[in-house]
């Protein structure tokens, strides 16, 4: 049973002057527990696809099913709740909230659930412990290295125990050592904790270590 099922999805960006077709008739299924990487040249629509899977954007045509739910028909509030419960996001440039410390950044997704303070605190500590960031809990993002920031961002992505993690070039802003560390972490989350991961990457070596590579060109899957 696929956890992600994308059927004939198309996405067209329309501005006053031009029409850009970012995705054209994309079909994709990802199984529960898979680690899939998406590769392709810049501007071919990888981020667009990830945003559509993450319900951050709506396709112009086609159908998005996540965990057996047809998400095309959900309203705004239902989508927000769905994202909160089932999706975690990791971005190239971390996107931590600069005015919050590590603890509060990681806690953020949980504040949109009806969850008591002590339970939230327990989860945040547990997650940071798991990712080896407990010693930086009162630090602010500007006081952390890039690799540490990405760990915190990953902690934020998994603190709500979502089934699916979407990572858009998670190592793009990191040097090779730090990138390696983050990749090991993602593999650990996939193997040990059973998170399904879809990752966009430009790094062929990284991609080869994943279960499956989807190659993208000009809005289409080519292999």
């Amino acid at each position: 049973m696929p956890i992600i099922k994308i059927s004939s999805v198309g996405k067209v960006y329309r501005t006053k002057e031009i029409e850009t077709t970012a995705l054209e008739n994309v079909n994709l299924t990802v199984e529960q527990g898979e680690f899939v990487s998406i590769m392709g040249p810049s501007g071919c629509g990888k981020s667009t696809l990830l945003n559509i899977i993450g319900l951050l954007d709506k396709p112009t045509s086609g159908k998005v099913e996540l965990m057996d739910t047809d998400c095309s028909s959900l309203g705004d509030t239902a989508i927000a709740a769905f994202r909160n419960a089932n999706l975690g996001f990791v971005f190239q440039s971390f996107h931590l909230i600069p005015t919050l410390n590590v603890y509060a950044n990681v806690e953020m997704p949980l504040t949109y659930r009806s969850m008591g303070h002590s339970e939230r605190s327990r989860r945040v500590h547990e997650t940071l412990e798991h990712l080896g960031m407990s010693h930086r809990i009162r630090h602010y993002p500007t006081q952390l290295s890039g690799g540490q920031c990405q760990r915190v961002a990953i902690a934020r992505a998994i603190v709500g125990r979502p089934s699916i993690i979407l990572a858009d070039e998670p190592t793009g802003n990191l040097d090779s050592t730090m990138g390696e560390e983050v990749m090991n972490l993602l593999h650990k989350l996939n193997k040990e904790d059973g998170h399904t991961i879809v990752m966009v990457t430009h790094n062929e070596a990284q991609a080869r270590k994943t279960d499956r590579i989807i190659r993208f060109f000009d809005g289409r899957i080519i292999s």
Binding site: N51, G54, L56, D57, D76, T77, A80, A81, R83, N84, A85, F89, F91, Q92, S93, H95, I97, P98, T99, L100, N101, A104, E107, M108, P109, Y112, R113, Y140, R156, G160
Partner: protein, 424 residues
Amino acid sequence: MKTKIIQIYRDLRSQPVIAWVTLLGTTLSMFLFMTVLMGEQIKYVPFPPEGNRGRLVYGMNYELNAPDYSMSSYLGFEQARLFYDNLQGVEKQAWLEQNTSPGFAGSDRTSAIDAESRRVDSNYWKLFNHTLVDGRLFNENETQSASNSVVLTESLARKLFGTAKAAGMTFTYNLEPQTVVGVVKDVSPLASICYAEVYLPLNHADTLLSKNCGIMVAMLPEQGTGIEALRAQVEGRYATENTRLLPDSTRYVYHGQPYDHEQYSSDTIWSNTTPDTREARRKQLLTYIILLLVPAINLSSMLNSRLRQRVGEFGIRRAYGCTRGRIITDVLWENLLVTLAGGIIGIILAIMVAVLNPDIVLSSKGIFSPVYSEYHISAGMLLNWRMIGMAFLACLILNIISASVPAWRASRVSPIDAISACNA
């Protein structure tokens, strides 16, 4: 909550100029608002000795039309008796002179001390809560016998006798010998019904006084009796009296007496019209709206530029399940805290200025009058629940007007736009 406050602090610190302008702007606008509000409220809020402002009603003024003359004036003894004596549903009533009279204490004119007096009957002391410092208040016997027993204020007693413990002392007032039976705390001129320095007994039966003394009748309705019930009775008495006067076609014109304290203080009390508080309220409301709207527009653009820096944050929050409505309420809450921080400083400042330099507060509403040399506002007069409630309501309104458009705009940003804007 703690997280929220720390975040607000860090957010403000990241844009110090905007933060200071926001805080100072809030402080200043709440200061102005409170100054105007206090000038207005001091006319209504109960404080001793007018601690019963909320319940008392006043019978005052009359208009009389005769074939060859017409007059409108303060109440005379005759009209007070005709229209207000023994109304049903009145627990207590008192007669008192509507205005103070100037006078002097001391036996010779050159060394005399100016002191304003007011005649009041013995019931007066039951309706108005003066604080007794020494001795006692004069009683019914003393008012009926037109005795020379008087009550002084503390500071006048000090000036005359060098002590506030002046009960039993004698002195000359307007060349008449007087005996002090009691001393009360000084009364602020802002309590314009009660203010005086010398309280003389008012004898309901004094025929000489009844000719040249303008009085008002203060009435405390029984629990459960509304002012309308009293008005109906008074209007009835006007009608009865007019029927009696019909043969010589002299008529009293009824103007909605008795009045409540809001009407009394509305500046529309004339003996030949009915006081209009609605107009006064409209003007007041308009003033308050303008006082809040103008700074709100400025604060709004401040907040807008603060929120523009946080577009990425809102985007990421949305990605993690925050709804649009939640962003709006969060922004409103955060801004309310900032508004309260600035507002409370402004409120405290306004109260301090009012206490230290009351002219500023009073002149804002045109109450200032050079007749009284010493206006004194105490913090106690201003610190009541009604005033505090209105101040916080103003903060809340200021917050809602200034923050709702920026909050709504912040909630409209789509998460991908917000996130990609931050990538670039």
